[in-house]
Symmetry: C2
DNA sequence: CTTCAAAATGTAATCGCTTACAATATAATT
DNA sequence: AATTATATTGTAAGCGATTACATTTTGAAG
């Protein structure tokens, strides 16, 4: 087969005995063109192998039909299950609306912001979803507010600083509150907390709830990195105490998995001896044994919402409607998923009746 | 802050009292321009906020610096851990070489091939990595051979049909052979096989190896879907037989996890009563308890190799060197990772000595 | 102080498509 | 059949860059 040279609209139009304008119109919805010629052009295009050059279209139409996803400070978006899930939501919403998804490109000498500049000021994409890491200085993004290219941020409610860009915010309170309430209702009094970062709203809720209940004991708080190894070590430390906690709330599922292993290593059972609650509801939470009670973040939904909002913004601009998207923010909450890693507190077991049901192995259900 | 209108190269050049050519040269490596003017232009660009329009550049330079990743038949690339891992490899290699990654865009009425047509013939990307599903008719891709836009396929060695595009092939034999050999050496004779699709090289190896050893028994082969539910049900069926297998090779880690749960439900232990081997080495294989012995596929590497080969192809074309990439294919193998879900066969336990070491809980190591 | 090559800059054509506007064909109306 | 409105097509000017080629500067050599 010969190497087929670029077939341009000019060549193609000539061969059909039509003008480039007519051919162009055949490829765009709702243009003034008779249905019969459109059909003819389209079918002829198939046989001759003509496809309009996307880049030229973008230039002429002044938009790329591309959405960028950027996570400043982390080039390897696809390595983090949370970000992948987010990206998935973005991709889906983008696809539905007819937009492609562009992932981080070349690392720029000027750092992360430089990529955004190139994307936004360079019009490489029609809009950008920016996932803001916990400690990112939001102010540095202000530069991009009110540009032609819309941005939307994904942040945590507790994020410090502020900026005038619209955002989808993740509110971790609800799920954390449910988790603690769940444990307290089960009769737990010594509830540990293994966290991966010093301060966020989950930590705050933990302290508040336990103080309210009168059980707060800072010795039960352990900080570690979010790995199974970290979780395991942290749990061992907790179990080494003379009176160990009967329940532990872990800041991430990964930590929870490590904790679970540590409990087993000490010859104890989950949830009979120690209840464990995770956070994030990764795929592995459901697959672990026992299946993890955990706080679910509907991550894909966040990505979807952000993208939908972004696209709505395009439409508004196309309609000439005022953007009016600044300072707007949507909030997404979390929810507790109860599975088999939590049960009544040890001492409660002897006295309550419900216990008999709560300890039926759930895996059989 | 005012909505900032597009600053084009013309406006920008005018404001500097220079020609557009000079400005353009400042932004491209190795052009004839004095270092002092380049510096001046670049710094002025920063303060005025000028960034060259990417789309226009692409059109003029006749390349997009974008690589596409397509998985015909599956719009939701990011939902499958295997594909994510692949995408990750592609993204990394692309990033190193200065290319961005474009994911599937709008579903086309004409089906999956239509997207490829638009990408390749429409020059939306400089090259495409195509992940070919198991039963995909490779012939349909022949259309894209020898075009201006290079493609590379990621396939399984056993894939049917053929096509003239270069590819990176995944060879599953090695790992499967090691897995079976491992089990046979541990003294297992009744080795089950839970598979998710009727015929591929893993299945073939299983049959061959067991026949060789004289232990082949088709009653020990169960087919199911690749979910934990499927694995669990399949394992229950296997365990229901009068004499159950002492080891089971699962076609995917997900199945293996389900199988593991089923074994526990029957009051048996892994690996003491039943050994389990998975396949794929997903993250959860390492995190499961006991950690899964499994066949590792270095998926990211496959993606990376494919991308590197693709990019090499761009360079060759730029240098005017003949492409000569057709029919070239690289092969990537698999390898067995031994963890704690496999141990000596039950009857062997009583007689061998090594057993004492093999059953030490690995989690303590 | 010329002279000439090399370096730096400018001019203008080009990349492949879209789209406002003009021109023509078709249909509807009287 | 003439007239007008409407649907279709053609013409040509962009879109915002790059780059071959022409021109001017610069600097070294004669």
């Amino acid at each position: 087969m010969q190497d087929i040279r670029t077939l341009t609209i000019k060549d193609f139009a000539e061969r059909l005995g039509l003008s480039t304008a007519t051919v162009s119109r055949a490829f765009t919805q709702g243009s003034n063109i008779s249905e019969v010629t459109r059909e003819k052009i389209l079918s002829e295009a198939r046989v001759l192998g003509y496809v309009p050059n996307q880049t030229a279209r973008r230039l002429a139409q002044r938009h790329s039909r591309l959405i960028g996803l950027d996570y400043p400070g982390n080039a390897d978006v696809l390595a983090d299950p949370y970000l992948v899930e987010l990206a998935r939501g973005v991709q889906k919403a983008a696809q539905v609306a007819g937009y492609g998804l562009l992932l981080n490109t070349v690392p720029r000498p000027g750092g992360d912001i430089e990529l955004l500049r190139e994307w936004i000021l360079g019009r490489a994409v029609d809009g950008v979803v920016i996932v803001v890491p916990r400690d990112f200085p939001l102010e540095s993004l202000d530069y991009f507010a009110n540009r032609d290219i819309p941005c939307i941020l994904i942040t945590q409610v507790s994020s410090p600083g502020g900026c005038t860009l619209p955002s989808v915010q993740l509110d971790l309170e609800e799920g954390a509150i449910s988790a603690l309430t769940h444990l307290l209702r089960l009769g737990h009094e010594r509830i540990g907390f293994i966290t991966s970062n010093c301060s966020d709203s989950v930590h705050r809720i933990y302290s508040e709830k336990l103080r309210e209940a009168g059980f707060l004991d800072t010795k039960l708080i352990v900080e570690t990195e979010s790995t199974t190894g970290g979780g395991r070590a942290a749990m061992h430390r907790l179990l080494a105490a003379p009176v160990h906690p009967t329940a532990v709330f872990c800041r991430t599922d990964i930590i929870a998995l490590g904790a679970l292993r540590a409990v087993r290593e000490m010859g104890l059972r989950v949830p009979e001896d120690v209840s464990i609650v995770g956070h994030d509801d990764l795929l592995l939470a459901e697959l672990s044994d026992p299946a993890l009670t955990t706080v679910r973040i509907d991550t894909a939904k966040i990505g979807r919402l952000a993208t939908e909002q972004l696209i709505q913004c395009f439409r508004a601009k196309a309609d000439g409607t005022a953007p009016a998207l600044n300072n707007v923010s949507t909030c997404v909450g979390t929810e507790l998923i109860v599975r088999s890693s939590t049960g009544p507190a040890l001492k409660a077991k002897v006295v309550t009746h419900q216990n008999r049901f709560d300890t039926v192995p759930q895996s059989v259900l």
